[in-house]
Amino acid sequence: MQDKSKNVWVGKADLVGDTEFVEVESSKFFDLPVAQELSDEKSKLLATPAKRRDFLKMMGFSLGAATVAAACEAPIRRAIPYMTKPDAIVPGVPTYYASTIVRGGDVCPVLVKTREGRPIKIEGNKLSSFTKGGTSARAQASVLDLYDSNRYAHPMKDGQNSDWSAVTNEIKAKLKSARGIKLISNTIVSPFTKKSIADFIQTYSNAEHVVYDAVSSSAMLDAHKSAFGTRALPSYHFDKANVILSLDADFLGTWISPIEYAADFIKGRKVKGTNQKEISRLYAVESAMTLTGSNADNRVVVKPSQSAAALVTIYNRVASKTGGSNASYSAGLSDKVIAKLNHMADDLWNSSRNGRHTLVVNGANNLGEQLLTIELNRLLGNFGSTITTDRACYLRQGDDIALGKAINDIEKGAADVVIFMDDANPVYDTPNGAKLAEVLNGNVTSVALTTRPNDTSTLCSYICPIHHNLESWGDAEAYAGELSLIQPVISPLHNSRAREVILAALSDNLVDPKEERMDYAMLRNSWNERGGQKFWEQSLSDGFANGSSGGPMVLGTVDVGAAVRSFASRNTSEREVKFYETVNIGAGQYASNPWLQEMPDPIYRTVWDNFVTIPVSWDGKRTISGMNGWSTGDVVEVTIAGKTMNAPVVDQFGVVDGAHGMALGYGRKNSGAVASNVGINVFDLMSTDDDGYTQYYAPLSFGNSVGESDAIASVQYHHTFGIKDKNAEGVTLNVDEQSISAIATGYQGALTDRSILYHANIDELESAADDLHHKREHAHHLNEQTIYEGHDHLYDNGHKWEMNVDLSSCIGCGACQVACIAENNVPVVGKEQVKVHHEMTWMRIDRYFFGDIESPNTAYQPMMCQHCDNAPCENVCPVGATQHSSEGLNHMTYNRCIGTRYCANNCPFKVRRFNWLDYTAADLFGANENDPFGNDPETPFYAENLTRMVLNPDVTVRTRGVIEKCSFCIQKIQQGKLLAKSENRALVDGDVTTACATACPTGAIVFGDINNKDTEVAKLEKHPLNYYVLEETNVRSAVGYRMKVTNRNNKINELDA
């Protein structure tokens, strides 16, 4: 009661702080939470019998603590008060645990946010040595997988529920009499799991562990083995390279360690001022457009089969300058492509001199190409500078050849027990899947250690459900010696076990069967050699530890002649299709996550489907049309690798006729409500090369359109912002503007005069900054012509929240978008709803192509509520449901909203989202809940109690009929303020940030208080490249954007002109 800051007192006793008075006063009202009061033994209250008010408070508290940390099967309905409150849980206050999200070779050290014992959000772990706090869309979405209602809840035998002892004993019996045992998994980065596999193999000497990756780096690993003697990958340092060449290696999106590479890459691309002369340059040579290709300054498209020819062209050019040995191979590359590649090679060579550095990465799964790439990097002197070998990368370990052999063994009967580990799904995601499926149906004992049904597990005789990542103990070693820990943040929701425990039980290696968490005991044992209790605790708290890294790998010699020999046998077809991995659902391992399914593909802007990409062309007059007159959503007959099927097409800039693309990861069967039967499976269309490596392309030919034209759900219909080409008279024009109208020729400037997207090449940066400055001055001048006095001064005091987005840093990976969905309870609506543009995402990443029509550049523009100080949405709401705060935030009061959608119409940025249907199952009546997956389930997705556990309790779940939009994560702002207040200090930069800004791996989004001059956002507002979208409309938005800066090689661009 005696608070020093309190200068109101009642009587003398209060003033002097009389103890008796204070005690009487403090027992008058319950200020403290009931739990705290009850735990206070000295309190008089305990002595007195509970009164009616106490009862009510108890009840209120128990309802408040609605979800109990551990072991709650039906968490929503039962409200159980804590008998003894766990230390870590304070209702309403989130707790963060360091852990690691691991899925095969995708590793992301994270902090898991839990509320009342429920993990609800993933944040990056800044202590990580490689991701440094960045996340990916996949990592962000992993929390939803935990609550997937399709997960296996019990061990199963032949499709029937069983129990652990029966299943374990039966499998054990089979193992003991087995002729051969195959353990098939994707890459395992955990030393702990590897040890338990080794222990298992020790018991069963006829067991073999086979590792494969759906998107394989097998040839790359073997190439490094032949060159270095170690089957591991080196570390790449994209930040140290001045010129980067990516040969079909989507290192920004999917290749090996994209979070790390993206952050490093962007370090070399930051523009600090207008006098900057250089940023790093990215060349991409690829077939289908990937995230990396779209971010490249210059991009060359070759057919997938021509990748070797492109590499040889570059290699020979470089080799000719160093006197290295020439490789003789060429495969029908056009003169223009060869000229472009030569320019790239020249640039690489020139840049590798004088202390500048280059880096060549290659995604091909071909031994010769990988060896040649190593040799090219050696010629360019990249080893030791941009590629280091003292820190082996373990993120890819798959071995295509071993898997092929294993499947043969099983087929021949040499192995009759197969254990699929960690959701490995080779029936689906290998070219031999069909063969394997056939074998599994035969006389083979198959066991799936998996979390949820997949194409493989549904064929298995035994299902051993394993813990989800967030329920598990474990570790991960992405790079040699850099260990991150996995700790459980919730008790297992289902009757699942740790994979290590299952293996130990099967091989009678269980340390202490009575231990409640045997996996913990085993992990702890396996870490004993690394350090004592203190080391363990610190590692657990950080989520990170250093171990021994072994020695560096030493580069041997590469036989170039042998490397290129295999190229000669390659066949090139007139048209080929490249099977590419998408940023969101990967090779299908993420397909069961609805957040990722509904995350628009960054490049194609589609959801819930794969398709064949087709090029667009300009007729020289006023039409841009897709190949054969087809456009996005048309279904056509295609023949891929001899199989004919109907597939939808998407017409897209940057696609070249002959080199088409089709995404991996779709068309899964028997994989639960979300993943099953979405799109077309392409794995069975793939082949292996002579060495046995999976080749991610196939010949393709088109038939006729089958008439359907509405097959694709896309979130963006207009794709360009100034695409140039020559017209019939040979004049270079913005042809997208020419072709913008249905019945007339458009005019120049229809798009590019808009103050939405500014971009410049680095060599014209100063003049572009000047232009921008003049445009902004003009906008300011226009904005001053008002009869109303401004009210900017209202925001001079206190906080004023603003955001700044660097368009040069945004690579479009979508981590922010999924983070926003997770943080703000944004509903999934399903493909049919997205088709009619009912997507609910609060933030989107607009993708615009600009530049030459054949090889355009791409700009990604994250777009969310701009929190305008002159918000057009606010004054039009008849009921005042959207209001401005004194801190410059545009608030939305869901309770008050009656859904006239006037605000959404009047929003220049079109960021307001309306709940068209009952997307969140919040309606009074269950009959009209939206069914996002279109499979008419008994309980709709959002009505599942399990699904609802992922909801953030700090954010209202919106009902049908109300508008919602980005709130700048108001709940996080509030939390930051409360934290500062409880620590009795002013807010500092970093106390408050938004979900999108936290998730971004490249630091493209910065959020903060603009009134605090020390914040980064306040400094960035003064950046000469900063601008506000649609500034001349005087809406006074609060999101600044920094101009997109590219570093094109003009010599290459001139070839297109």
């Binding site: 039009v876 009921v879 959608r901």
Partner: protein, 472 residues
């Protein structure tokens, strides 16, 4: 009404009617059993009304997601229908109030039906802002009622709130005006009726006896209401246009909207009056009361307002070019040539071009042409609202968000259904109340009845002859 009418004016009542005949002609439709045509029309209208009710139920039950609106286009057929119906609802009050003040005698033949049409049109219009709400069960939030939430008031800055007041005021005044006019006529029907009808009409006519005092009060009330209604005719659509004019969306944000909308509203209102009157005069055999004179007068109004609207269209195009504002320029370029070019084409041809045939007197006085034209104008004005609302939203500032919009069956059902609602009400009206204002028509009989105008003509002719003789 003045007893004197210019001799060059054609008669407004033909057939040499007596007062008794007027009463008989106009009251008869309410007294006999409905004709077969009426029964068929009513059955059709009620069917459409049922469709309407079902679509409303479906929309409320399922959500606005049962329509095809999207994140870019928040208003489509719903608000198009709203503005269209409100526009139609302008003719009645214009005829009864402004033309009354201007002493236009021809208004007496059509004012009753036009006012009824106004009221029914406003009823139809009022449906759409309600149905289009995401949470119609909270529609009462838009009224500034005392409450315990703070108290929490409505947003007086919002044009949508102004709409609430504008439309409800307009509806109230129009209803009063219409009913006031009906009272003497209902009494007439009552006097001719028997039994339960007599009782009901007795209640409805408030015990009208036709005393001089009644007439005096009735006249004053009519005049006061006319005075009140006159500014409303201009204000309602002005305020409806503010929904768009006060926004920031290029293509909406224009100062020309108030006069342009008012002209358009009168234009479409008169077209709808024509449509209804041409059918009514034929089916109810009222050609002596709704004459070619009436039709021609209304066609003149249509020509005038249609041309005003056309000038507004062209002005918009000019200003968008002249502004040199890229968004504005594109908005209008896109309207005319973008993916919805056909709606713009329909609007231009129906509203600007087609009424120009009314420069010809022959066309103005041709009933078939007039009827077809009135339908054209109704279509054109619907497209005008669609062009303004949907095509503008479809392609606004950020190209990334551009979208397209086509209605679902629910939206089409709501539109067709609202026609059902309108015609159901109108058909009931023609059965229960005199479609032509008996008392008012009688008041102009001696100035504009054909037997009298002929007499005047003769008189004037003789007088002129006499004057010329005396001059000589």
């Amino acid at each position: 009404m003045g007893a004197i009418s210019s001799p060059i004016r054609n008669p407004l009542i033909t057939g040499r009617k007596t007062y008794a005949q007027i009463t008989e002609d106009i009251c008869r439709p309410t007294e006999r059993t409905p004709s077969f045509a009426w029964v068929v029309a009513f059955a059709l209208a009620v069917t459409f009304l049922a469709v309407y009710l079902f679509c409303v139920f479906y929309t409320v039950w399922k959500g606005i997601g049962s329509w095809n609106l999207n994140r870019t286009i928040g208003w489509g057929w719903d608000i198009t229908n709203f503005v269209w119906w409100v526009g139609i609802g302008h003719a009645g009050t214009l005829i009864s109030a402004i033309l009354l003040l201007f002493r236009q005698k021809w208004r007496t033949g059509v004012n009753r039906a036009a006012e009824a049409m106004t009221i029914f049109a406003v009823i139809c219009a009022g449906q759409f802002p309600l149905i289009h709400m995401g949470r119609i069960w909270l529609a009462f939030f838009i009224f500034p009622y005392p409450n315990t939430r703070g108290p929490l008031w409505v947003n007086f800055n919002s044009p949508l709130l102004w709409d609430v007041f504008a439309i409800s005021t307009y509806f109230t005044v129009s209803l009063l005006f219409w009913y006031t006019g009906l009272v003497p006529d209902l009494a007439t029907v009552r006097d001719r009726a028997k039994g339960i009808r007599k009782k009901l009409y007795g209640i409805a006519s408030f015990g009208w006896t036709g005393s001089a005092k009644h007439w005096q009060r009735w006249e004053s009330l009519s005049l006061i209401l006319a005075g009140l209604a006159t500014p409303l005719v201009l204000s309602v659509h002005t305020i409806v246009s503010f929904d768009f004019a006060t926004s920031v969306i290029p293509g909406w944000h224009t100062t020309i909207f108030p006069p342009y909308f008012v002209a358009g509203a009168i234009f479409s209102g008169f077209a709808m009056v024509q449509t209804l009157m041409i059918i009514t005069r034929k089916v109810l055999n009222l050609k002596d009361y709704i004459t070619l004179e009436h039709i021609e007068s209304m066609n003149k109004v249509i020509l005038l307002t249609g041309t005003i609207v056309g000038v507004a269209y062209l002005t918009e195009l000019f200003i968008s070019w002249y502004s040199q504002y890229p968004y504005e320029q594109f908005a209008f370029f896109n309207r005319a040539t973008g993916p919805y070019w056909y709606t713009y084409f329909a609007m231009m041809s129906c509203n600007l071009l087609s009424p120009q045939i009314f420069w010809s007197r022959k066309m103005r006085r041709n009933v078939t042409v007039t009827f077809i034209m009135s339908i054209f104008v109704n279509i054109g004005m619907w497209y005008e609202r669609f062009v303004i609302i949907a095509t503008t939203l479809a392609r606004d500032y950020l190209p990334s968000s551009w979208s397209m919009y086509y209605p679902t069956w629910v939206e089409v059902g709501l539109f067709l259904g609202s026609l059902g609602l309108f015609f159901t009400l109108f058909l009931i009206f023609v059965r229960v109340a005199p479609v032509v204002a008996i008392a008012e028509v009688k008041s102009i009989l001696k100035s504009s009845g054909d037997q009298y105008t002929e007499k005047f003509e003769k008189y004037h002719h003789e007088k002129q002859f006499a004057n010329e003789a005396s001059d000589a």
